[in-house]
């Protein structure tokens, strides 16, 4: 660990990509949802559900099925969130909180019932994992893809319009509910993708509360990145870098570990304080 230069830090950069991947994927989900005006703090819960469903289906029918099932589950939970928010007029934050609680308690419950206390005892593991390069590649490419989609296509313009002012969008012939459907379900899908990365690729198992706050760090990246795909991805990469740095330093000095662990959160607060990041104007607003 002594000596210097970029060479020493190289493995940290590689590890940073691994750590940042779920953040980027979930962050893209966060951006999509918030850009159409729906606050989504349930990223954490959807990631957890995606991870769990992925393992269950992956055990039963193979890795491909696991990934597919995870994506479907994310889509459905996103749909649930949207329904609660629009049809049942539930406050966006409350809905997100409820989904998070349900996800953590539900997956822990099912983990015990289906695995730990099953007869005979089963473990939530899969024998092989999905190639990690697939996910890292997606995490590198998708921000650019979504940047293009969001800023250079008609669909993206309409999406953003809905998040800024649904009333104006309606007057221009855009149906906000359809675009919200698109945004929020895709949001769930991406979050579940991030979750399945954790259980089917980075590791080969599901463990209780395995997301441990990454969903909230992704949200922090969305805010620090000013709700843009590229800004978010860059922030997520930085967070991933500090995360891997913290693992590397563990065992040597204790103090930096706590600082580095708290860094993403402190950064977000500093960003909120100094940068005044402005969310989409109609974010969280009840439908007109």
């Amino acid at each position: 660990m002594s000596g210097g230069g970029g060479v020493v830090l190289l493995p940290f950069f590689v590890s940073a990509l691994r750590q940042a991947t779920p953040l980027v994927l979930a962050g893209l989900g966060g951006i999509l949802s918030e850009r159409v005006g729906v606050v989504n703090i349930a990223l954490e819960g959807i990631m957890l559900i995606g991870a769990f469903v992925g393992i269950c289906a992956g055990q039963a029918a193979g890795l491909g099925a696991g990934l597919g099932a995870a994506l479907v589950s994310g889509l459905l939970i996103g749909l649930l969130h949207l329904m609660l928010v629009s049809r049942f007029r539930l406050n966006h934050v409350i809905s997100g909180v409820a989904i998070n609680i349900l996800a953590l308690q539900g997956t822990t419950y099912l983990l015990h019932v289906l695995y730990d206390h099953a007869e005979p005892v089963r473990t939530p593991v899969v024998p092989q994992t999905l190639p990690i390069g697939l996910f890292i590649g997606a995490a590198i490419l998708l921000p650019f893809v979504f940047h293009f989609l969001l800023y250079r296509t008609a669909v993206g313009l309409r999406l953003r319009a809905v998040g800024e002012s649904p009333e104006s969008a309606r007057m221009a012939g855009i149906d906000p509910s359809r675009l919200r459907l698109l945004g929020v379900t895709l949001s769930g899908l991406l979050a579940a993708l991030a979750g399945s990365y954790l259980s089917l690729s980075q590791n080969n198992r599901f463990s209780e509360n395995m997301v441990s706050g990454r969903g909230f760090i992704a949200l922090a990246a969305v805010i620090c990145g000013r709700w843009t795909p590229l800004g978010m991805a860059g922030t997520a990469l930085a967070f991933g870098f500090f995360d891997s740095l913290q693992y590397g330093l563990q065992g040597t000095v204790n103090v930096p570990t706590d600082f580095l662990q708290a860094l993403p959160y402190v950064c977000t607060i500093l960003a909120a304080m100094l940068l005044r990041p402005v969310p989409p104007a109609a974010l969280g607003r009840e439908e007109a």
Binding site: I41, L84, R87, F88, L90, N91, V93, I94, S95, V97, A98, I99, N100, I101, L102, L104, Q105, G106, T108, Y109, H112, V113, L114, H117, A118, Y151, R152, T153, A154, G156, L157, R160, E164, S165, R170, A172, G173, I174, D175, S177, G213, L219, A220, W227, T228, D258, F259, Q261, A262, Y265, V266, T268, I269, A272, M273, R276, V278, P280, A281, A288
Partner: protein, 501 residues
């Protein structure tokens, strides 16, 4: 009229809880592991709920445990409600609770007299040699109870060399810590058989006192065991009616301080408090861990925890495993105080005005930003008190991994309680029962984890807040059929500027 509306206002929470039980029941039925329409599977939800009910309210001990569990929920539920009345989501109750607990622990253990001071000892060399060689039963027990590193430091003591003041200080500090440990039995008949004690002293020792009397006794026994070695000193404790309120105040201040950050950021910079409070929760975990590693750690144990709080700062508690303490009554008092504040004072009125419509309130002259911060400070103080009560009433110290998931639970409590003090009190007892009952049920009913309570909680949150509105969609202006749009038609829009009216 007033009672009618109160009954009506109970309706939605009541049905919400009922719905949650039904949903959870269906979930239990589906995951029972038995064939779906077998009697075992169909009966299981009822078995589970019966077990939970019994665990929560069936018997004095269960009831007391439930009330004990309800205590922090009541505090944090009130905290969330106060903030929500101002329109602010305080999800940071957990972090505020931790800071409050740590602050209370610090005031609790810092204001305590040192039992053995280096300048008490008339002959340091003899003292250290005595402890090192432990020739008599009293010295033996003292030596054995020392922290291992201290003991090895002591064993290398050489009377011939000049005295190392830091060694003396460490040994004295360790000894003080031992002699004020409430679980350490210094006096034993045989151990002190050959020590000449005055009749009153021996009689007092036989009665096995507790608390500050015990610590005082330990000091006198030490002096008596080695006459001439210690300068007699009577220990002065901070009186409980000063120490305890001070510690509680520290808890409230710690929580309030932690809630100040999201409050001021919201008022000044418009930062969304949901995100900031969630961030502050995580930072709190790291900050308290950091403080527990070094300045606030008990130096004579390996575990990451603070030294024990002085008996003068402890809340009364029933020592029967139910964790029930005077904290419950404090929580009730807090509920009354919150009700009074919100309903009978100008401050409460203004806070509620901010929550009902910030712009209208501002037009009416309410200092909106300041009231938001006030609400967050109050909210944080309540959550901090929850932490203080946990420390001072139950654990007697602060340690790592202190609370768990309380932040989100408190939201459920506040919402089910309809944001008013009485509703929240009932709601806290209900959720306390849910949690307690689920834990008990897990022991008795096979294969049903306690997390079922969390599922009830989540559905309650949704059911309380949901309003089904049959709504006709406002019309979308029909547009002429579009010509083939190409990407060139869409110029990049600078986010925010164009769409804002």
């Amino acid at each position: 009229m007033r009672s009618a509306s109160r009954v009506r206002s109970l309706r939605q929470p009541f049905f919400a809880f009922l719905l949650a039980l039904v949903v959870a029941g269906v979930f239990v039925w589906l995951t029972s592991g038995e064939p779906l329409f077998s009697p075992a599977a169909l009966q299981k939800p009822f078995v589970v709920f019966a077990a939970m009910g019994k665990g929560a309210f069936g018997g004095t001990d269960s009831l007391l445990s439930t009330l004990a569990k309800a205590t922090p929920l009541l505090f944090t539920g009130l905290a969330v409600a106060v903030a929500l009345r101002a329109g602010l989501f305080n999800i940071g109750a957990e972090g505020q609770l931790m800071l409050g607990g740590l602050a209370a622990a610090w005031v609790g253990f810092a204001l305590v007299p040192t039992v053995v001071r280096p300048d008490d000892i008339k002959d340091p060399a003899r003292f250290l040699t005595l402890l090192r060689d432990a020739p008599d039963p009293v010295a033996q027990t003292l030596k054995k109870s020392l922290y291992t590193p201290t003991r090895s430091l002591l064993s290398s003591y050489d009377a011939a060399r000049p005295l190392d003041p830091s060694l003396l200080a460490t040994v004295c500090a360790n000894l003080s810590s031992v002699l004020r440990d409430k679980d350490y039995a210094f006096y034993e008949k045989n151990r002190f058989a050959s020590v000449s004690l005055s009749p009153e002293l021996r009689r007092e020792a036989e009665t096995k006192p507790t608390g500050t009397a015990k610590i005082q006794l330990n000091r006198r026994l030490l002096e008596a065991a080695y006459p001439g070695l210690f300068a007699p000193r009577s220990l002065t404790f901070v009186p409980p009616w000063v120490h305890l309120p001070l510690a509680l105040l520290a808890g409230a201040l710690g929580g309030a301080l932690w809630a100040f950050v999201p409050g001021i950021l919201k008022a000044w910079r418009g930062a969304h408090e949901v995100i900031v409070t969630i961030m502050m929760n995580y930072i709190a975990i790291n900050l308290t861990h950091l403080l527990l590693l070094s300045p606030l750690k008990d130096p004579f144990t390996q575990a990451t925890k603070t030294p024990a709080v002085s008996p003068t700062a402890r809340l009364w508690s029933l020592d029967n495993g139910t964790n029930f303490s005077a904290g419950f009554f404090l929580a009730l008092a807090a509920a009354v105080a919150v009700w009074f504040l919100m309903r009978r004072t100008a401050l409460g009125y203004e806070i509620r005005a901010v929550g009902l419509g910030a712009e209208a309130a501002r037009a009416a002259g309410v200092p909106v930003g300041r009231r938001m911060v006030n609400a967050m400070l109050l909210s944080g103080a309540l959550a901090g008190l929850a932490g203080a009560v946990e420390v001072l009433g139950i654990h007697g110290r602060f340690f790592d991994a202190f609370s768990g998931g309380l932040g989100f639970d408190s939201i459920a409590v506040a919402l089910l309680g309809n944001l008013n003090a009485w509703g929240i009190t009932l709601s806290a007892v209900l959720f306390g029962g849910l949690s307690n009952g689920a834990r008990a049920m897990q022991q008795t009913v096979a294969n049903t984890p306690k997390e079922i309570a969390g599922i009830v909680q989540a559905v309650v949150i949704v059911a309380v807040g949901a309003r089904y509105v049959r709504r006709t969609k406002p019309p979308v202006t029909p547009q002429p059929p579009p010509r083939q749009e190409t990407a060139q038609d869409v110029t990049p829009v600078t986010r925010g500027e164009e769409a804002r009216p």
